[in-house]
Structure formats: structure tokens, C-alpha cells
């Protein structure tokens, strides 16, 4: 009886475990099939290298270069802001903070991680955008920088928690050995712990970047939504996710426009897939180095 129960449970969990795989497969197939029309009927050279997107115009123009550039520009700026803050936060929490400070700070970071992105969007639209506009005397507060600034705070909690994990993987003996050699706290941190956790920290950064590039709500609300190539870091832009979100409702099912939006989705999928694979690879290498490998 017991072994039957055990087997039954095993199968049930096995099926459940494969569910997400099935779901992923379904998503990939849907993306590919719906993109086919665009891939076959739009000059792909133009699709990837033209920076002119006017699907409503006659004849429609489908060029995605500026959408891709906007995505990467916003993503890169967000990382530039988020990474130093997040890594320093993690180092502080893990190495320097007193237990009391840690117990005080940690819940707030976790709350930040749990906030829905639309709340960030609201805050950015009503507070950050007007403030940036006044401070830098910009024509408009909505733009790439505003989006990046907001997304940075969306990514920080995630980067903090993965970086903390990476730091906890560094064997205690490393630290003790360093202190035994007469190194002070700062030397231990900068010369021993950070290099040892380095690839873990890189993983955290890459996963953060992939989260930022895939985020939609915030960029729809505050990135500005202009399809021109950005001229400065404050220019209004329209990243890939925002383009899909704001046009999908309008595009008639089965139209070329509809299919082109799916192809953008496919591109986005490939980009985040590459980032995630990269992250997995780096983190594997790092576990091996520290003797945690399998």
C-alpha cells in the first residue's frame, strides 16, 4: 500500500513538474507560429535594421531598430543605477550591518520586491517625472531616464537577494584565513569576498537586467512612447514591451501588424533567454570554483 501511495505521488508530482515545461513549449510555439506571417512577408533586413515603425500608416512600415535600442538603453541605464546600490546594500546587509540594522532593513527591501509594478509606474508618473522635468528643465518628464530610474528600484530587491545568496556561498574559511593573514575588514571584503562571490554577483546583475528589459507596465506609463530614435538619455522612447502592450489590442487578429508584434515578442523572448542562459552558466562555473559543484 505504502509503495503504491509513494509511486502515485511520484507520478502526480512528475506530471506537475512537466506542466511548466509544457506551458513554456506552448508559449514558444505560439510565438513562432504567429510570427511566421511577419517573418515571411516583411523584409527581415528592414524589420531588424530600419528605425521606422508606422504600422497604422499606408503602406505600413515595420522597422524595430529604435524599439530594440530603446529597450537596451533603458535596461542599461537602469542597471547602471541599480547595480551599485543593490550590491552595496547586499554587502552592507551581509557583512557590515548589525543584526538589529539588518532586521530593520530587510523587511523593507522585501516589501519593495512585492510591490506590483503599476504602483512604481504611478509613483514615477506623479512624483519622479515632474521632479526630473523641473530639475533638469526638460521639455517633458516622461522619457528613457525616468523609466530607467523607476525600473532600477524595481530591480534592486532582486539583485540584493541573489547577491546575498552569492555572498553566503563564500566559505567561512576564506574570511577566517584572510583575517588570520592580518587583512582588515575592508581588505577582506574587497580582495577576498567580492572576487569569490564575483560570478554570483554577475548572475544577479544579468537576471536583474533581464527583469528590467521584460518589464512592461512602467515603460508604458513613463517612457514617453515616442517611436523616434532617442537623441538624449531624457528622450521619450518606446521599448519593445511597451510597443506590444499598447498596440496589441488594436491589431486585427491575423493581420500583418498583429504578426509583427508577435515577432517583437519572439525577439524579446530570445533576448531574455540568452540573458538567463548566460546567468545559469556563470553561476554554475562559480559553484564549481568554490567546491559546491555536482
Amino acid at each position: 500500500m505504502n509503495s503504491f501511495k509513494e509511486r502515485a505521488f511520484k507520478y502526480v508530482f512528475c506530471v506537475l513538474a512537466y506542466c511548466s515545461l509544457l506551458f513554456l513549449l506552448g508559449i514558444v510555439l505560439t510565438l513562432v507560429f504567429n510570427s511566421l506571417q511577419a517573418i515571411l512577408n516583411i523584409n527581415q533586413l528592414q524589420f531588424f535594421f530600419s528605425d521606422d515603425w508606422a504600422p497604422y500608416f499606408y503602406p505600413p512600415i515595420f522597422g524595430t531598430l529604435q524599439l530594440v535600442i530603446s529597450s537596451f538603453m533603458v535596461g542599461a541605464m537602469a542597471c547602471l543605477i541599480a547595480v551599485p546600490i543593490a550590491v552595496c546594500t547586499a554587502l552592507f546587509l551581509f557583512e557590515l550591518a548589525s543584526p538589529r540594522a539588518r532586521a530593520f532593513l530587510k523587511p523593507f527591501i522585501e516589501i519593495l520586491a512585492g510591490l506590483p509594478s503599476i504602483i512604481f509606474g504611478f509613483f514615477a508618473m506623479v512624483v519622479i517625472a515632474p521632479w526630473l522635468q523641473r530639475t533638469f528643465d526638460l521639455p517633458s518628464g516622461l522619457g528613457a531616464f525616468t523609466a530607467a530610474f523607476t525600473l532600477a528600484f524595481l530591480a534592486i530587491p532582486q539583485i540584493v537577494s541573489i547577491t546575498e545568496d552569492a555572498l553566503s556561498f563564500v566559505p567561512k574559511s576564506f574570511k577566517e584565513a584572510s583575517f588570520a593573514l592580518g587583512a582588515n575588514r575592508w581588505q577582506t571584503l574587497s580582495k577576498v569576498i567580492i572576487p569569490a562571490a564575483g560570478s554570483g554577483i554577475s548572475t544577479a546583475i544579468i537576471l536583474g537586467a533581464s527583469r528590467v528589459i521584460g518589464e512592461t507596465m512602467v515603460v508604458v506609463m513613463v517612457a514617453g512612447g515616442a517611436t523616434a530614435l532617442p537623441e538624449s538619455i531624457f528622450s521619450p522612447v518606446r521599448p519593445m514591451t511597451a510597443t506590444i502592450a499598447s498596440e496589441m489590442g488594436e491589431a486585427a487578429h491575423g493581420s500583418l501588424h498583429f504578426s509583427a508584434l508577435f515577432e517583437i515578442g519572439l525577439m524579446l523572448f530570445v533576448i531574455t533567454l540568452i540573458l538567463n542562459l548566460l546567468a545559469t552558466r556563470i553561476s554554475k562555473k562559480f559553484r564549481l570554483k568554490l567546491g559546491h559543484g555536482r
Binding site: P55, P139, G225, A226, P236, G249, E250, A252
Partner: protein
Amino acid sequence: MKKLLSLLLLATFTVAPAFANERIVAEGSTTVLPVMQRTAEVFMNQNPGVNISIRGGGSGVGINSLIGGRNDIAMSSRAIRDSELRTAAERGVNPRATMVALDAIAVVVNNNNPVNNLTQQQVTDIFTGRITNWSEVGGESRAIVVISRDTASGSFETFNELALRGQRQSRRAMMQASNQSVAQVVSTTPGAIGYVGLGYLDRVKALSIDGIAPTAENVLNGAFPYARPLFVYTNGAPTGAAQRFLNFVQSAAGQRLAASLGYVPFN
């Protein structure tokens, strides 16, 4: 006040009476949304057996969903397109238009902008990107920030037709998802220019076009150039509760409600 009303409305839906036996779903243009919400609220008070739920999304979304059978009433601030009629015919859907009010698309600027009037040509030049500074149209020296609606919006299409006459809109134009967010951005951006329905003028300044203000009178007598009828579409002529509701919207009482929200009544 409008917010309070929509909150109330939301509350009405969440605690929708269990005995509601006729349910109508209306979806589409955010330009038509306020008049439908207000009239539905009054109509449901008088007809407790009917439950009307209304959501935005844009004219294109509403019509798409009507064709897909996902709503009963599609709200639209533009006439249905030939391509949409073809798809509808393929699916056996027969969209029929009912006029619910008249609306003008007002060209709006920030309250602190000294400019009060533009010519139609100037509006075209600003929105296509040929004029980029307010000083070129008699304002202070400040970059013009063009705010437009996303392509799912009927206002976008109507404005393109009436004001841009088929020319391409400037690629620097910032696309916003709703009338409300155009008004919000224009009200907080000193150099902004945008366009919204007449129901959204409380926080921004509406410009006269060729000296003609976007008032009810000028819309009705056809003097204001950017005016249009607002429609809802149903599959075939409306029947049952939908018919009674739309009759109410078109009645003198319904049109008075529309007028109270800043639309132009036709009845």
C-alpha cells in the same frame, strides 16, 4: 467628482444585485466611456433587472471584441473600418451603428501657455513636426512637446484624418493610452500640446482653431473643424435590454446627462 462617480459605479458592479437577469457588456473608446458610464448608472437605477458593465480599451479593441463575440456593445469614436467590416462579415457579425452624442476633439495646451489660438495649418505643422517651437506660432520660446494617442484609439484615427489629413504624425510624438493620461501629461508639461475629447478639459486649456472655440454651439453648427459623432456598435439592431438602454442614451434625458459631462447633445 467624476472619480467619485466611477468609484460608486465600480462599487455597484461588485455588489451587483443577485436578481440582475440581463447583463450587457460595453467596451471600447475611452472618449465614449464617461457618457456611457453616467447614463448606465442612471439607467440601472431605473431598471434594477439590468446589469451593464463598461470598460475602456480604445475603439479598435471594442470593435475587435464585438466581432469576436466578447462584448454586446462596442463604443467607438470613429466609424468602423472597411477591413473590420470584412472580418465581421466573415464571422457572421453585422455591426450596426447607434449615435450616442457629438464630440469635438479639442486641441489642448498647458494652462500656463499664453497661446490661445492656432490655425488648422499650424496644428497640422505642429503635429507633423514641421513647427517645433512655440515662438513660431506666437508663444514664448519653448520646445513643443507633441502628445498623441496610441494607435488603438479612435481619437488618434479621427484626429489624423481631420487635422493631419493623411500626413504622418511626428515620430517624436509621445503616445498616451487614454484621454485622461493625455490631459495629465499636458497639465504637468509646460510645452505640451495634445488633443482630447470635450469631457476632459478641466485641467488644461483648449485652443480656438481659426478663431473658433470648441463649444457645443460651434460643434452643432459645424463651424468647429475637429468635430465628430460618437457611436456604439451592436451586432445587428440592438434588442432587449441593450435596445432599451440605447434608447435611453438617445432620449432627451440621456442627452442631458451627456451635456452635463461636456459632450454635445444632438437631441
